[in-house]
């Protein structure tokens, strides 16, 4: 094998290893890297909303599970801080 290709493969392996180690550090461990790549990254989107855009109106479900309300029902009088998140 020509020396050029040996070096190319070696550099690629080093890059792959460094990427894996970085992901391990970010996610918590090798198992978490799989979880992040399989379940998190496909759902993480920066989105196109920007400051100044109309805030999208979305219908939400109340805690009783049956009533509904719209985000826009909560806007108008004062600024509205929206906190998106989950339990886990």
């Amino acid at each position: 094998m020509p020396l050029f290709w040996k070096w190319t493969i070696a550099v690629l392996l080093v890059i792959l290893l460094a990427t894996f180690l970085l992901l391990c550090k970010m996610a918590g461990g090798p198992k978490d890297v799989y979880g992040m790549v399989r379940y998190a990254l496909p759902h993480m989107h920066s989105g196109k909303l920007k400051v100044g855009d109309d805030a999208p109106d979305v219908r939400l479900v109340a805690l009783d599970g049956s009533d509904h309300f719209h985000i826009r029902e909560r806007t108008g009088g004062r600024p509205l801080v929206l906190i998106f998140g989950s339990y886990t």
Partner: protein, 139 residues
């Protein structure tokens, strides 16, 4: 966020939107979820999602107004909100602040700065009644 809510609830409204679980047992579960006894499978229907939301509210006596994203994840999609994200909507219905994608760019202090720029610095004593949850949406 609860502290920021307590500091600025006289000036702004707050609404928590509960979206799809970030670390359910059947996807990417974290060790910290087990340690904190926060172990749920990803809800497959609205009833399951509502049940988890109510568990959260009950456990942490969460004081902020709460809405649940429907099982079609419409709110998550509209705001690119998964796994966690912050926005401020101004009085005219426009986006006034758009936080970065969580968890790496989820920064409640940016919301505090936005509110402080408008209403001045407000800092009340931290509440002591309820333990602070370690997971969003109250981080």
């Amino acid at each position: 966020m609860v502290q920021i809510y307590n500091d600025y609830k006289e000036h702004a409204d707050f609404l928590t939107v509960y979206v799809r679980e970030a670390h359910p047992t059947d996807e990417w579960q974290m060790k910290s979820n087990v340690k904190d006894d926060v172990c749920y499978a990803q809800p497959k229907n609205l009833v399951q999602r509502v049940a988890i939301a109510n568990d959260f509210i009950t456990r942490f006596k969460y004081p902020i107004a709460f809405g649940i994203d429907d099982i079609n994840n419409a709110a998550e999609a509209a705001y690119s909100a998964w796994p966690e994200r912050l926005y401020v909507i101004d009085e005219s219905g426009h986006i006034a602040y758009r936080g970065g994608m969580g968890p790496f760019h989820y920064d409640p202090q940016e919301v505090r700065a936005w509110l402080a720029a408008r209403y001045g610095e407000v800092k009340h004593d931290a509440p002591t009644a309820a333990p602070a949850p370690t997971t969003s949406p109250t981080t």
